[in-house]
Structure formats: C-alpha cells, structure tokens
C-alpha cells in the first residue's frame, strides 16, 4: 500500500512542478514585436533590414522575425484565430480579401494619419489600392512583381534569331520562338506552366476582366478565349512545353536548366538564376502585345505588411512597420536587386539605368506594372478557388485531352457553381 501511495505522491509532485513551471514565464524588459513572413530568401533580407534600419532606431522595443518555411497562409490563419498570431505579418494580395473580411487584421488609417514617416501619397497608388478593403487600408505594400519575358541570349545568337523586344506581338514572338527551336535541337521555345498566373496577362491583353459589372466571371466570351487559345496554342504547336513534362517544377527551373529559350516569370527568377546558373546570359523584355488590340496585359503580385487586430503592442508594431517601409530601407532593398520598391519616388533611382543584366531585368518588371491592362493578382474573396477550374482546364487542353470548347464550358460551369 505504501508503494501505491508513494507513486501517487510522486505523480502529484511532478504535475505540480510542471504547472508552476508553465505559469512563471520569463518576463523580459523590452517589448517584443513579433514579425512573421516567408522563409527562404526573405529570412536573410528581413533580418538584415531589421539589423540595419529598424533595431538601431528603436528604444525599449525588440523586433524579432519568425520565418515560416511552408504553408504560410495556413499557419497565419491558425495562429491569428488561436490568438497567438504575430504583431506584424506578410499578407499576400492573392488571399488578402478573405483575411481582411475576417476582422483579424487591424485597419491602419488612424496610424497613418498620425505618422510623420509614412504617407499614403508616397506609396504607388495601384499597390495601396490593392490592400484597401471597404475603404480602409489594411496593409502597406512592401514590394511588388509583374511578369516579363525572360530569354536566353546565347540561344537566340546561336540560332541567329533576333532577340524578342518590346515591339513584338503574339505572332512575331511565336515566329521567333519557332525559329530558335528549329535551330537548336532538344530545346523548346518557351516554358508554359498550365496556370492562370502565367496565362492571365494574355486574356487581359485581349480585354478580359475577371469580374463583370454584376461580379460574375465570363470565360466563354471571346476575350478570355482569345488569350486562352493563344497560350494553349503555343503548346499545341510544340513551341511551348509544360515544365512538368521536362521534369521541372516551374518555368524558371526549365530556363535555368537551358531546356527552354524563354519563360514568363517575375523578378523572383533573378535571384534564383544568380544562384543556379550565374553564367546564363539572359535578357528580359515586356510581354508581347495582342495583335488585335495592340495592348499588353500583366498581373501585379504584391505582399503587404499588415497588423494583428489583437496585438498587445500596436503602437510599437506600427513603429516597426514604418521603419521597414522607410525610404532608406526600400532603397537598400532595390539597390541590391532583392525586390521592387512600393515607394513612388524610387522610380528615378539610378540603379534602374545601370547596364547590369539584373538591373535591366528589374526595370522591365518595374515597367510591366504600368503598360497596358494590368490587374492585381486577386480574385475577391474566392482566392485560389477562382483559379482552380481555369488551371485544370489549361493543363487538360495543353496535354491534348480536351478541346478549347469543352474546356472553357467546363470551367464556366465550375465558376458559376462557385459564384452561386
């Protein structure tokens, strides 16, 4: 009996010790502002930003970056709803609407009104609008990206084909790609991911808009169809190839492996190429024009800094936000070729005019935001669900399993179901 008693006493003691240990958390002197964002390249950039531009100007506040390696949006929703969310965090335009509508994000208007460092007029209007919801600003864009046509100069030289340039329309570009492919056995003209994130600009160039006046989408109409047919037609003619078919995860991978002469990517490919194939001699130009409308289309990809509505240190968090988006911080990010700034004044930065291939490519991506029919990469509260049907029929048509007619009808049916 004594033994049982002893065991029970021991167990009770252990439980009590644990409880006491859990209750007495260490109380630090500084207020801690937790910042969350992506892992990978972002980890190095944000930590250096904090060390150089944020922490030296803070008193009694410590900014800490928490990188999330994978499934960032799921992590954020979980931690915000559980009340353990960070004070400041990335919000991707792509799924921003749903999150803003949930009430978990703090509107920033009252903070901006009092701020000396951050004025809404300093930020590129289209980017700021992308994070404005129901008339309130829910995030300050930290940078942005658009799509450009990246091409391998050496391949065009060897095939004796002129480089793609800004005067190209869909037909002349197809022609150039076909000639390069004919001149270089084993190389495809262009990598085409079966994704709206690459095909969308061609629909925009033909005059498509995601939602009509009634908030519905029409993908069986002639405008969407024109872009869709051009994009899938490239694959059908054999000029384009889906990256998955040559064992690559994305267009940039196929481009770096020199299996394609061109690809459609944003400035994110620049750092990737610097690491993966530093000697690749590439150039970049604006996306080709639609031959009928004479317009280009493009998508704006952007991420904001937003604040947790339940944060206990909102003033301190906003102070950190101001410093992260300060002119000095953005200039530093730009001049290292890490990202494109959201502050309008930096358009005139001499970096853009330098002869370096990375700077030239960044400038093209920068200009992509203001040439032709450009829309942010967001689909109201539908998010990814809007793109899923489009992406599925893109892959079905490009692998030759569906005709354009059947595919677009199916996509329209699925979208109507979604938007019921």
């Amino acid at each position: 009996m004594k033994r049982v008693k002893r065991v029970v006493t021991l167990l009770t003691a252990i439980v009590l010790t644990l409880a006491v240990a859990m209750c007495t958390g260490a109380a630090g002197a500084d207020v801690q502002v937790r910042i969350a964002g992506f892992g990978g390249v972002d980890l190095a950039i944000v930590e250096e930003l904090i060390a150089k531009f944020v922490q030296p100007k803070l008193k009694g506040v410590k900014a800490v970056y928490e990188p999330i390696a994978d499934g960032y949006d799921r992590w954020l929703v979980n931690s915000l709803s559980a009340g353990t969310g960070p004070d400041l965090f990335y919000v991707d335009i792509f799924w921003s609407r749903g999150l803003f509508s949930s009430g978990a994000v703090e509107p920033l208007d009252s903070y901006i009104a009092k701020s000396k460092m951050l004025k809404t007029t300093d930020i590129t209007t289209s980017l700021l609008n992308a994070f404005t919801y129901n008339g309130k600003v829910y995030g300050i864009p930290k940078d942005f990206n658009t799509l450009a046509l990246f091409y391998n100069r050496d391949m065009f030289d060897v095939a004796k084909v002129p480089y793609p340039d800004e005067s190209d329309d869909w037909n002349t570009l197809t022609d150039k790609l076909r000639k390069v492919q004919a001149g270089l056995p084993g190389v495809y003209g262009i990598a085409l991911a079966p994704e709206y994130a690459r095909m969308g600009p061609f629909a925009y160039a033909a005059g498509f808009s995601v939602f009509d006046a009634k908030g519905k989408s029409n993908v069986i109409g002639s405008q969407f169809r024109e872009g869709f047919e051009f994009y899938t037609g490239l694959a059908k003619k054999g000029v384009g190839i889906m990256p998955a078919d040559i064992g690559q995860g994305w267009g940039g991978g196929a481009f770096a492996a020199e299996k394609v002469a061109a690809c459609l990517e944003g400035a994110w490919i620049i750092g990737f190429l610097r690491d993966q194939s530093p000697n690749l001699n590439y150039g970049a130009t604006l996306l080709p024009k639609n031959p009928r409308t004479g317009q280009r289309g493009n998508l704006i990809f952007t991420v904001s800094w937003s604040m947790n509505a339940q944060s206990k240190h909102k003033q301190e968090a906003f102070q950190v936000l101001e410093l992260l988006t300060s002119p000095e911080a953005q200039q530093w990010v730009l001049e290292r070729g890490l990202a494109l700034p959201s502050r309008q004044a930096l358009i005139d930065n001499p970096y853009f005019k330098s002869a370096d291939k990375e700077a030239a490519a960044n400038y093209i991506v920068f200009r992509g935001a203001s040439d032709g029919n450009v829309f942010p990469f967001e689909f109201a509260a539908y998010g990814d669900d809007w793109m899923t049907p489009i992406n599925q029929v893109l892959s079905a048509v490009m692998s030759g399993e569906q005709t354009v007619d059947v595919a677009l009808k199916e996509a329209q049916k699925r979208l109507d179901e979604l938007m019921k």
Binding site: Y382, D384, S399
Partner: protein
Amino acid sequence: MRAHGVSRAWEKAAPYILLAPFIFHITAFFGYAFARTFYFSFTEYNLFASPRWVGLQNYVDLVRNVQFGRALRNSLQFAVIVTLAQTCLALILAVVMNSRVRGIRFFRAAYYMPSVTSSVVITLIFMWLFQRGGVINYLTTKFIEYRAPIGVFIACLVVIQVLLVLRDRAGGWPASWFEPAFLLMSAVFSFVLVLALQAARIIGPNPNVEIVRTVWLNTRQTVPGWAGSLAVPRPLAAIMMLNTWTTAPTMMLLFLAGLQDIPRELYEAAAVDGAAPAAAFRHITLPGLRNVTYLVLSMGLISTLQMFDQVAIVGEQAPRESVITLAYFIYSNAFPGSAVPRIGAASAAAIVLAVFTMVLVSLQKRITRS
C-alpha cells in the same frame, strides 16, 4: 481502524489516478475534439467569428457538392482496391518469407524497407518515375522495342522445359513442371538461341518503335477504358500502386507473425495424409490466419479511407478532381484557397468519413466471420 479505511480508499482510487493521464489524453484529444467537430458540423464557422447554427445545411450542401461526390467515389475505389491488393500481396509475401531458405532474414528486411521509409520521400521518387520522360515510360518503351527477342526467349524456354519434363516422365521419373535444374538448362539454351538469331539478323529490336509518352499524373483519363463508370482516374491508379507497395510490408509482418503461430505438426500431419501444398494452404493456413486477416483488413480499410499525404503531394501535378479523397476534401475545406476556413463544411465531411469508416469496417467484420 482509521488507517485501514484510508488505505482502502487509496486502493480504490489508485487505478484511476494511475490511469488519469491516459483518460485525460483520450477525453481531451479524442472525446472533446470529436464532440466539437460534431457541433461545428451544424454551424457556419470560419475560426474568427463565433459559430452560427445552420442545422443540417452543411450536410445538404455536401450532397450537392460535385467535388464531394468525386471524393467519395475516389475514396471508396481506393479503399476497396488497395485493401484487397495489399492484403493479397502481403499474404503471398508472408508465405514466401516464412519458408526456410538461406538468407531469408535479408529479404525480410529488404521487403520491409518501403514501410519504414518516409512516405513523402517515396511519393516524390514515384513522381519522378511517373514523369512523361520517366523510368516507367522508358521501360515500357524498351519492352515494346525488344518485344520480338523477349517473345522468342519465353516461347523457347517453355517449349524446352516441356520437352525435358515429358522426356523424364516418359522414363518414369516424377519430374515437376518447374524442375529448377531443367529451368536453368532451358533458360541458358534459349538465351544462346536468341543471341544466335540476333547475330544472324533474323530477329532484333524494332527500330521504329514509338516512344511511350503516357501521361500518368497530369491527366483526367480513367483506366481501364472498358470499365465505364467503375474506371479509376489514372493518377489515382498510380497512387494506388504506390500505396499498395508501401503498406503491404507492414501487413506482411502481421501475417508472418500469424503464420508462425500455426503449429508445424498440422502441416506434417497433412503431408503424411498426402495433402498437396495448395490443399494445406487452403485448409490449414487460411483458417489459421482468420483473426490476423480481420485485423489486416480493418487496418487496411481505415488507413486507406484516411489516405491523405500521398494524394496531397501527387495532387500538385495532377488535376484535383482525379485524385481528391475524402480526407483531402476535408483538408481543402479547412484550408481553402480563399484563406478563410470553412470549418462547418469540413466538420460535416469529417463526420461523414467517420460514419462511413465504421460502416465499412463492421460490414467487413461480418464478411470475414462468415
């Protein structure tokens, strides 16, 4: 007297106190979670605003949801086909591994490898194998290319073997159709013959064979073509092969344990009575393994119905409707593309999956008992 009463009370309480951690664990992580899920399945809830009671609306929506119908069909096909395939494969492997052959321990370990390797890693490797320019298509192409030599080799082997066995039997020897010594002789002879025919340029690889470029993953085709509405989407079929291969070894281990419990004497008695190996298998091995078979089938059904990780990974390269399973459907509602969870719909689907699993397992219990 009083001391005695206290120790009696201790004695009564002790088991509960000792069980407390487990009871707490079960109530908190299963009981409470299940009750919450059940409640949420009748509400509209996005994790941020408080849940709003909607009655049976979530269940009604599920029935109307096209994706849910596909998920249900895929899950059912997946569960039935994979459970049967892995059970048969595991039983065959176990019987082979139970034989007394030199070095059998090595093979036991080798066959167990797929089960101990990370499922995610294996899935990634499978995705490479199933690429359009991957190993599976390459081997198929090579097979078609060398169809003629391979055919001649097999035909030769069979003919020589039959002739050798017949000759022995005519001489009054009880030669088996698979006599190993004869097999070796026939194989060597056939191989030499094929080489000779090739050298004489009578047969050879087909030079203008078309390279097989079957799309395994990024497709919505179903196989086999003649099965109509019972056909399985091809990417799902690829996952079925993968899953059978990775789970069969665990089941094999259970069968192996079951086999070693069957007394040797029964086989010896059967052999004395002149029973053929097939008869011994049917009348001794199978009945002896009945309890293990029930366990294996139940575990198989439950794990295949909950199939998620391999679908989630392959799903990135395949159309969602071709691979979606119930577990994946639940996940995609809990974490949809619009970032704001639809917990109500996910919970309703989870309840349906739980009920579905229980029904299938109890049905299976009846069938194995009879």
